[in-house]
């Protein structure tokens, strides 16, 4: 009987110890904890400094995705008003967040660093349909673009560059 009572106090001792410690619980959503630099959250489709979309609609991300979460339908750029450098862009770009396992393979596969897993992790929906994030939702604002367009992507409207004009 006494033994039982002692055990009761022993347990309370642990409780009492934590009563005066700083709590580890974070009051989400009032308080949000910063994530690590390499945290893999919701994707963003990036742009270049000049505002052109980085995504060229190559579907390599979709090919790399182990969860088959990405759906890309490519389209042809209007040379007068291109959406992305070169001939091709993504006409449809969708990620199903319910399928995604946030592995980051898409990021690795992307030849233009267009798809990047960012820090946003608040992904909940009331229905399955809204788990599909479309291109509009994923694409960053034009002013958030960065980096110059690499020459490899400058495909249309190019003229011969000097060394090539030396005829063999």
């Amino acid at each position: 009987m006494l033994k039982g009572t002692m055990a009761y106090f022993k347990g309370l001792k642990t409780t009492a110890k934590y009563l005066f410690k700083k709590p580890v619980t974070i009051q989400y959503p009032d308080v949000k904890r910063p994530v690590r630099e390499r945290f893999r959250g919701r994707h963003e489709l990036k742009r270049f400094a000049n505002g052109l979309e980085r995504c060229i609609g190559c579907s390599l991300c979709a090919a790399a995705c182990p969860a088959d979460a990405i759906y890309v339908v490519p389209g042809q750029n209007d040379p007068a008003k291109p959406l992305s450098p070169g001939e091709r862009h993504a006409a449809v770009y969708e990620i199903n967040m319910l399928r995604c396992i946030f592995c980051g393979y898409c990021e690795d596969a992307c030849p233009t660093n267009a798809i990047v897993l960012e820090h946003q992790y608040e992904l909940s929906f009331y229905d399955r349909r809204s788990s599909i994030y479309t291109k509009d939702m994923l694409l960053v604002q034009p002013e958030d673009g960065y980096g110059e367009v690499p020459p490899v992507l400058e495909q249309t409207g190019r003229q011969l560059n000097p060394p090539a004009q030396i005829d063999l």
Binding site: I56, C58, Y71, P74, V152
Partner: protein, 918 residues
Amino acid sequence: MPDEVTLTIDGQSVTVPKGTVVVEAARKIENLIPVFCYHPKMAPVGMCRMCLVKVGTPKVDRGTGKVELDTDGKPVIQMMPRLQTACTTPVSEGMVVVTKDAEVEHAQKGVLEALLTSHPLDCPVCDKGGECPLQNLTMGWGPGQSRFDYSDKVHFQKPIPLGDLIYLDRERCILCARCVRFQDEIAGDPVLGFDNRGRSWMIISKSDPAFDSKFSGNTTDICPVGALTSADFRFKARVWELQPVPTVCNHCPVGCNMTFDMRANEIMRVMPRENDAVNEIWICDRGRFAHHFVASPERLTTPLVRKNGKLQEASWEEALDLVARQLDGIRESAGGKAVGGLAGPSLANEDLFAFQRFFRETLGSPNIDCRPGTALDLPLDDFGAEYGLTSGTDLMQLGKGTVVLVFGADPEEEAPVHLLRIRNIAKRGGTLITINGRATKLDRFAEHTLHYRYGAETEVLAAMLKPLYDAVPPEGKRAALRGFGDLRGVLANASAERAVANAGVDGPTLEKINQALASATNLVIFYGQEALRAGTSVTAGLANILTLARKAGAPNSGLVALVPGANARGALDMGVRPDRGPGYSALKQPGMAAHEMFDAARQGRMKALYIAGLDPVQADPTLAEALKKVDLVVVQELFLTATAQLADVVFPVLSVAEREGTFTNAERRVQRFRQARRPVAPQRPDWQILQSLARQLSAEAVIAASANVSDKSRRQARRAEEQARKRTDWSYASPAEILMDIAASVPLYKHISYASLESALGVWGRKPNEAYYFDGTSYENTGGLGKQVPAGAENGGTLSLQPFNVRTFSQPAERPWKLIATPFLYDDSTLLNGSALLNNRKARPVAALNPADADSLGLKDGDVISIASGRGELRLSVQRTRLAPQGVVLVPLHVQGVPLVTVVEAGVTAVAIRRAEG
């Protein structure tokens, strides 16, 4: 064997025929020598140097001329001082080839590195990426790293359209000349070429309109890089995302094997599927680019029923019930004979069989036909089946000793891939003879060509038959030919001189043709729409040539009738015709042909017309009047055609991409197509609609049958009931079951089943893993090769000669011109709906006149003329072209704005031409 050579490749010995090149010999033992410019279907050129190998030959002592032996008694091998291109080096006895060693590897790496210096490396946006030989060979044999500075690359404007259908990306081109060689060697349209030199070396189109070829799409398949891409598939999807579904082309009687490459339930592109017995690895541009009708937004989606004079959407139950009740009423009141049925030659065998059952058994009507019932209807062709190409004939295997006669046909327009195959026979040493009323493309490859005067076809045939007829030995043989005597009188006056005089053909050529026919080992005769339209005497004459040359039923010989429609042969085999039942069986009572049905309709004798997959009103607008007199017009269609607009009930059907079925091609090969697409609307396959109706209608028939037998003996009663049950048994769950029924009831199709059509055994094609370097060329055939049904003449028995008469064509002086209806591949058929890419290629509504004739009439290009026959008149603008023979006006068939039906009278129509006023 003197014609075989044994050599050693990487220590493995292989025996191949003389003249084989090293690449092919290595292929045989699955040793893959990487290649770019070499293609197994084309002559080697040695342009890319990718296939470099070490080659040695046994050393021959100059003095003795004997092979020198070393101390072990083995021949001394002398290696050639430099690496050789394996694609151009023919094998020789005792040759030693090394394909894998440091030196070869060094060379291969070097070639790839050099190729990649001027390659843009834009694989992520390149349509070839994923099935690109350059990618594959770089992975397998490449250096892994380049010493070349990326910013030093050549850049060009891109893409450059090489015509409407094909785009060129100069940066990607490795100048292997596969495309140029394909156009020269295989398609026979030498429209591509090289321009400039050095860095500015490029592929150009030399024709106007640019890249003017019906086979241009194939160049995108064989281009080993992404330099040539098709406008249709450009940036549509990545190739690894596609699901290829085996299918059969539904556009023409060749029946090319293809795949629908699907993504997200849409056809992304059409690719050829290897089948040597049909299309090798090629398809034409109509087959490749005219698939858009499937996803056209204009497709019918729900049944339509006429209410208050307007077609309105209805449910299936309502529409079916309405049709069943009305048909039942008509059957009761006016009898089955008051119902007529037309089913088009693009429907599957299963539909057609169900169609004739529905008419003959359920409705008790003998009136069915597979033609639209206009003045342009072709006679029903039986000879293509009776004397057809014997089963087991593979045109791919024919060459020396084979005579191919093409009579009254323009395969380029009627059956494009046959043009390639016929040409290939000629290239392998066969003798090609073309006999036509006008110049066709095939003439270019023919050894002998005759151009007859239109209307004098039988004169030429008589002159060809005569020597064959006289050569038949008198004893025994003559008696073995039924109808031999009948021909004697007809041919009594025939002679080459007469043909020269009356048909205007060249005498010496005719002589040579007759010699060729007499000495042929194999004889294949193609005939097309012009021959068919010229009357049965012409096709009978061709059949008689085959018989008299003793090639009827002989292996590798026979007739090929190019009847328009993907399943025209199937329609005839299934008995969708007034005069014969399935399998050409005799009928107790023939029914009305299509045009007779319309005549009956005009007189009010036709109470109901059921039209599936045909558009008679589009072909002849005057038929609308006849249709209006019919109480019930039911149309089964993909689109709301001119005929469907006049119907009382319209049933929407599934297209070839959304269902299963089989087609029988011109060579009588039965081939299976599969469902590639989920239907997006509640359409139904043709056979199912007929089955639903038949079930409703037969329920009553069974009751009637059992009611009738009460006073007969029990045995009779049982038989009647049995028959009624069989007649009323409509319990097909799938097209496969209909095919089982066909196999059971049509002796010709005895051995045909879905399982037998699926066999892909015996595909020569690729060896395992070869796709690795011939990638993108076409698909391996996994969907089955189909199966040929036997020709009538193969069954043995007495052969008969067909009634043949020499006919002369005379025309009244006031109508001195001859009007000829000419078929075009790109016409205004509903199957081209939605394929806007091909619009520029479509036949234009013009009347083609020889420039000399046009001059004599004082006509310039674009002048409007009136063409008047005894029946009517037609106005068209003039196109001056040398392709039109003198005295002839060529008018395109099935082209909108050309009411040909109002003027044509027969195969040749005498017309008057004058400049139209105003």
